[in-house]
């Protein structure tokens, strides 16, 4: 585990040192000073890491739902709303302080369509619960939430159910972070005609709520034929804890299959 934390620190020290080098204050900077700052709150996004797009920072308006059940849910869907539930991680055995709400179907569908399903489930939103529709009446609750699960119709992709989890700053969330592969046009292995084999598209991390990564960039520009990337090679914030085995591969570049295809002709 210590090796997992040390490796990103070495890579991350260089960007932090650059502004200090220009001001000739390099002697005062040591990696030990930055180590506790990165691993203790308050957390912040590091430079060079992906952060949430401000374009999709939307306020999700919700209204309380009276009762559960499939008949009430069907009426909500017919009225253009999605039945949802908000709960929190603490006190889960007693229901997690859950609240039944309804959110606008158009808003959820727009977010899922624009962001994508996996990217929608890996970022935080601000949720406001009002007593009446369209943000009128009395504000009951205003909280930052993580979409835990979204249930879409198989044929029409209409949202049927959304599950939100409250995300205060002290929460640790298990998030399936999607991977974005970049640099495939500059990869020497892919230029030789090798096959890019994607093994994992998401990686599960335990994230503090303030630095939830929207995605993780995987650089392929230095991969050659026969090489692969493991989960420990990902560049993430050191406060993120990998919940899967660090030895699992996420992608590999394997040899060409061209002779086999010619034979099938």
């Amino acid at each position: 585990m210590a090796m997992l934390l040390r490796r990103p620190l070495r890579a991350l020290t260089l960007p932090l040192l650059r502004p200090h080098l220009s001001t000739a204050a390099a002697a005062e900077v040591s990696p030990a000073d930055h180590h506790p700052d990165l691993l203790s709150p308050p957390f912040g996004y590091l430079p060079g890491h992906p952060r949430p797009d401000a374009k999709h920072d939307e306020l999700i308006l919700a209204v309380p739902r009276a009762s559960p059940g499939r008949h009430v849910a069907a009426k909500e869907r017919k009225a253009g709303r999605v039945p949802a539930i908000v709960f929190e991680q603490e006190n889960g055995q007693e229901g997690g302080n859950k609240r039944l709400v309804s959110v606008q179907s158009k808003q959820i569908r727009k977010l899922v369509d624009h962001l994508g399903r996996s990217f929608f489930l890996s970022r935080l939103f601000r949720l406001q619960v009002w007593s009446e529709h369209a943000g009128q009446g009395v504000l009951i609750e205003s909280v930052r939430v993580l979409p835990r699960k979204v249930h879409l119709h198989a044929g029409t992709d209409e949202p049927l159910n959304v599950t939100f989890m409250r995300a205060p700053s002290s929460a640790l969330l298990k998030i399936d972070v999607p991977l974005m592969f970049i640099g495939d046009d500059a990869s020497p292995g892919l230029r030789k005609g090798a096959y890019f084999n994607t093994i994992k598209r998401t990686v599960k991390y335990l994230c503090p709520a303030d630095i939830v990564p929207p995605y993780i960039e995987v650089d392929l520009s230095e991969l050659d034929v026969g090489q692969k990337l493991l989960m420990r090679d990902l560049k993430v914030h050191p406060a993120l804890k990998l919940l899967q085995s660090p030895e699992q591969p996420i992608c590999s570049i394997i040899g060409s299959r061209a002779p086999e295809q010619k034979k099938s002709k």
Binding site: H153, D184, L190, A194, F196, K263, S264
Partner: protein, 185 residues
């Protein structure tokens, strides 16, 4: 009723079939020669437990497995429940591979891949022409695969978005069923 319709193909065999999507003569043995038979490059089981089955409803039952992309980045999703015959599946697969070959001529990525996630292992019967009704069920004439709404029959990877969309469009014309293009997101 459904419990009596026990298929001869086991889950492991079907997973093996998924593992080798471009099945050729050489690869037939990997799926087991007692399961798969090749007649003019069309894939269907050599033997099933019963030769005549009830077809049941295509869209009834639980939520179908295979409504999300699991192997490739792009795929086609059926908008309507229905049947896919083995000839239609093979025609769609060939149309997709043909588009891949056209795409590979100008691309730096030359390893396209297609996954066929449906298997036509259900025999259908029919009576010959000019035969009157009665005298029992007809003889087997073909094989179909039941496809539910939202099920993904084809997935593809290793190709750009425009070529994948074109391949999906060509493949959508082969089966008499409406499909739409989906991509992982």
């Amino acid at each position: 009723m459904e419990k009596h319709l026990v298929m001869y193909l086991t889950r492991k065999s079907i997973m093996l079939l998924r593992k080798y999507p471009l099945v050729t003569e050489f690869q037939v043995s990997k799926c087991g020669s007692h399961i798969v038979k090749i007649r003019r490059d069309v894939l269907y089981p050599k033997r099933t437990k019963y030769s005549k089955y009830s077809k049941c409803r295509c869209s009834r039952g639980c939520e179908p497995d295979g409504t999300q992309l699991g192997f490739g980045r792009y795929g086609t999703k059926s908008c309507r429940a229905g049947r896919l015959s083995y000839r239609a599946i093979e025609a769609a697969r060939r149309a997709t591979i043909g588009q891949f070959h056209r795409a590979m001529s100008g691309q730096f990525r030359r390893n396209c891949k297609i996954w066929v996630r449906v298997l036509a292992d259900l025999p259908i019967t029919g009576k010959p022409a000019e035969v009157r009704m009665g005298r029992g069920k007809g003889n087997p004439t073909g094989w179909i695969a039941r496809v539910s709404t939202g099920q993904i029959p084809f997935e593809m990877d290793g190709v750009s978005l425009s070529n994948a969309r074109q391949a999906a469009r060509l493949a959508a014309h082969k089966p008499c069923s409406s499909t739409k293009f989906v991509q992982w997101s």
